[in-house]
Structures are given as structure tokens and as C-alpha cells.
Amino acid sequence: MILLAAPVVAAPEGARPDDPLQSPFLPTVLQLVLPEGARVRFDDRVKVQFPAIAENQRQFPVQVDARAVPGVKRIIIFADLNPIQKAVEFTPHDAEAFIAIRIKLDQRTPVRAAVEVADGSWLVAGGWIDAAGGGCSAPPVSRVKGDWAQSLMQLRGRLWSTPGQRVARLALAVRHPMDTGFVDNVPSYWLESLQLRADGRLLADLALNASVAEDPAIMLMPHLMEGESVTVRGRDSGGVELAGRVAGQSAIPAGAP
């Protein structure tokens, strides 16, 4: 924590020469978030999109679109200077290489995606975002209100699809405080996994950390047949499980991105 609180200095000693963001902490972060010995290169085909300003450092939307990269095995979203660097690891078994999610920001930091491709190497892209402090160390809203237990693991969801096309859109929202453990007397407690299936076929696995924003909200693009529904199973770090089913595909309006 003390190391992480150090300000970003103008001369990024220790940054990789090829890092477009010249982040001094990147070499360390890559060791923390990627498998040992991972080969990394920077690649703009991985599109990491987020708003120009972090209006709310507890709920910062990040979207990763790696559909231009063939053979994507995994997508990891991380922030170099967050105390919990890795937010989510997404494995698209039968889904597009696309994920949108909200994360916490603890200060000005690079926000990036690392995308594993077929040969086991990783493609990294991202950008800097300025943020007020405290995204990871302020109490969740539901802890302040005190109502977190009543809504714990509630699942909302919706499916959109275009007739004749297998790429659907799936929105999921789970109520969970996503405690980081950095708030006095509240131990870390987070939604740690989600698994999505259609007709028994595995669509996607998500492994989440507490740096995902409170009440995780996720958009994915699973591959579905007409009329198929998606079953969702999840578990948090306390062993509480959720189960749900998203059915009834709505049409994607013409002109949607």
C-alpha cells in the first residue's frame, strides 16, 4: 500500500521502453496479473474504451473490444496503480472477445486490458485516466446504508439478439458490496466467479476481484441460437451462491453499434 501511494513521477524510471503509457509500475503489475513468464506486446487492435473523465472513482466504466484479434483465449482488465490491480479475468468459451464492466479507481492510473491469444502470448492496450482517490478505500454505498444483506446476490439481466445472427448481447447486474478489505473493520468480501451456460454449453467464465465496482454490472456478447436462454451461476468469497436464468431475447435495434 505504501508503495502504491507514491505519486506518479515525471521520469518513469523502471517503465518498459515499449510501454505507450510509460507507467513505472507496469513490469511489476504484469508479474502480478499475468502467468509467470508471460510474453507481452502492446497492440492497438485491443480497444480499451472509457469516458474522458472518471466522474465516479467507485464506478468507472471500462469496455474492452478485442474482436479484431483472432483466437482470443482470455481477457484481463487491470489498473496499474490500484491496490488490487486485476479487476476481472474473462474467458470467452463461446462468446465474442468483448466485455464491458465497471471498476474502482484508487488514483490516477493506467487502465488496461491484457488479451491472451492462441500461442499463449498476451496483447496489452489501455490508457491513462485521472481519478480522485478513494475508489478502493471508501465504504460501499450499501454498507453505509446498511441494506447490503437484504439484496445480496440479487441478479438482474437481459438478452438482446438479431434474428439469424448468433452474436447476442447479455447484460448482467449482481447486487454485492464488493468489499476490498481497505475499509476499517470490514474484511474483504466479493463476488468471485460467474459462469454462463446455454443448453449446457459453456459460454463464458468470469473471475472477479474486489476492484470490480460495487454491484457488478457486466455486458457480454455470447453466441446463442434463436430462442436460447442463458443460465448464470455465481459464487462469492464467502461461499454464497447465485443462480439465475436470462430468457426472452429482445431485438437489437437497427443502427446499434
Partner: protein, 310 residues
């Protein structure tokens, strides 16, 4: 905040610190005995010292009345000096239109006994203000030195007030924030609308209640004013252009965000929605759209995504 002040005080004693930043303020006449100090039509930033809101100065026989106080202690001092130069009298009263720091934190430069606000805003000073202060210190650094927002000692109530022979009509409304004050100068028909009205700049929605905002705009539209000073953007020389513009933006924004969610868009995609050509003249429209997505999206999810399990 105290710790920061001490730190800044210690830094001030160091020889290598650059000269303190300085507000260069200019007033433009609006009507007889009323001036506006125009804010930069930009986000709060080091380059503008937080001086982004319009501040109005009204001359009365008892002294100058300020509508809003600026973003920092030094901004408040600079406004007080400017008001004295313009009116020949010291500031007799400061009305805070709402708590947002670009409007209120300059009250630091005035005795609490001169500062008036609604009871709701006075209550927020001891609550939300601490968070705003932290944010402003981070964004503005030394511009903020010495800024301590006092609890306003005077209560602004709806209705007429007479100050130094000048009749002002106070309106207590809400919508842009939980409590918004507007001031009508009856002699000149000048309506000082605070952030209930934006002009040629996209409205900001961090604490907005859009139905309440529409009701407030309805009220402001019917006061018989000649002209209007918005919270941000140029003075509107007509009674209703800026009011209509503000309403048009929020009337577009709300259904646009609902439609975006119902179409399966992500927050990032919603922030990139095309902005209708009729808003081409609004400064910082893209930025405010993205901020508004952040303000409204989680509640829209809770309201519009069906429960599917637990």
C-alpha cells in the same frame, strides 16, 4: 483539510515555491447596478482556478450583494475587491445558489454573518462539503489555500427581501441539486438563475432530479423577467432562450439514456451517442453527456433490467 492546510503553510515557507496563483476577474454590466463576472465555460481545472461559474454583483445603498461566491477563498477575496470597485461599497450580503463548490466555496472569504443560503444548503455545508473540498484541493492545489466554507448564518427564504433600497425576490427551488436558489432583481427584471439554467453550455447533472428540474424551469419561465443570468454561459438578453435550451437538453437526455439502455448499449457506448445537431452550440456537451451517463446509468439498470435470479 486541516492537515492539508498545515502542509501548504509549511510549503509556503519554502523558497522554491512559485508565486501564488492570482484570479484576474472582469465584470460585464448586465443592467442598472448589476454586473456579472463570467466563469470559464470549461470544467474545473488548474488553468482556471475553479472560476467557472457566473457570479453576479448587485449594487445597493447598503453595500454590494453577491449572488454566489466563487470556488475558493482567494476567488471570494478577488470578487469582494471587484464588487467594492464597481459599487463603491463593501459586500453586504452573499447569497449561495447551491452547494456546488464552484459557486459556494468562495464564501470562505466572508464572515458567516453575511452569507445566506437555504436551510438545506446550510445543512449540506457540514455534510457533503467535506468531500467537495477534498476533490477541489486535488484539482486546484494552491488555488484553494485557506478555503474553509463557513456555515451560512443567514437563512434564505422564498419571497421578497429589501437590501439597501433594492428589492430582490428569492425563489427556493430544486432540480439541479437538492436545493437551488434563484434571485429576481425586481427593478431591472434581471433573473439570476444559478445552475437551474445553463446557456450555450451543456447542463451538468451530478445531483440532478430531472422532474423537479423541469418544474423549477416552469416556474422560472413565468416570472416576467427581461433577461437572465445563467449559472454557466453568457447572459441571456431574452426572458426565455436559456431556459428553453436547458429544458431541451434534459428533455433529450433522459429518454436518450433510457433508449440506450433498452437497446442493449454499454455505458461507454451511451457516452458516445450522437449529440443532436440542435445542441451544436453547447460547450462541453460530450463531456456532460458522459458525466450524465455516470450519474444515471446504475439507477436505470436497477429500474429497467428485470430480476432473473439470486
Amino acid at each position: 483539510m486541516i492537515a492539508r492546510r498545515h502542509l501548504l503553510g509549511a510549503l509556503a515557507g519554502m523558497p522554491l515555491i512559485a508565486a501564488a496563483p492570482h484570479y484576474r476577474l472582469a465584470a460585464q454590466p448586465v443592467a442598472a447596478g448589476i454586473w456579472v463576472v463570467r466563469g470559464a465555460d470549461a470544467p474545473i481545472a488548474m488553468a482556471n482556478g475553479g472560476a467557472i461559474a457566473n457570479i453576479s454583483i448587485i449594487a445597493t445603498d447598503a453595500g454590494a450583494v453577491l449572488i454566489d461566491a466563487g470556488a475558493s477563498h482567494r476567488h471570494g477575496l478577488a470578487l469582494a475587491a471587484l464588487a467594492r470597485r464597481l459599487t463603491g461599497k463593501p459586500v453586504a450580503r452573499v447569497y449561495l445558489t447551491h452547494l456546488h463548490p464552484d459557486h459556494s466555496f468562495g464564501a470562505s472569504a466572508f464572515p458567516a454573518g453575511l452569507v445566506a443560503a437555504t436551510p438545506a444548503v446550510a445543512a449540506q455545508v457540514t455534510g457533503d462539503a467535506a468531500g467537495f473540498s477534498t476533490g477541489l484541493y486535488r484539482l486546484l492545489g494552491d488555488w484553494m489555500r485557506g478555503t474553509e466554507l463557513p456555515a451560512p448564518a443567514l437563512v434564505a427564504e422564498a419571497g421578497p427581501v429589501l437590501i439597501g433600497g433594492r428589492r430582490l425576490r428569492l425563489l427556493t427551488l430544486s432540480g439541479h441539486s437538492a436545493s437551488d436558489l434563484a434571485v429576481l432583481d425586481e427593478a431591472t427584471g434581471t433573473l439570476i438563475a444559478g445552475d437551474l439554467v445553463f446557456h450555450n453550455r451543456a447542463p451538468a447533472t451530478p445531483h440532478a432530479d430531472l422532474p423537479a428540474w423541469r418544474r423549477a424551469l416552469d416556474q422560472l419561465a413565468g416570472l416576467g423577467q427581461q433577461r437572465l443570468v445563467p449559472g454557466h454561459g453568457p447572459v441571456d438578453p431574452t426572458p426565455g432562450t436559456a431556459i428553453a435550451q436547458t429544458r431541451a437538453w434534459i428533455d433529450w437526455l433522459e429518454p436518450a439514456l433510457k433508449a440506450a439502455m433498452d437497446a442493449g448499449l454499454t455505458m461507454v457506448e451511451a457516452g458516445d451517442l450522437p449529440i443532436p445537431p440542435r445542441f451544436a452550440g453547447l460547450a462541453v456537451a460530450r463531456l456532460e453527456l458522459q458525466r450524465s451517463v455516470s450519474h444515471f446509468w446504475p439507477a436505470l439498470e436497477a429500474a429497467r433490467l428485470p430480476r432473473v435470479g439470486g
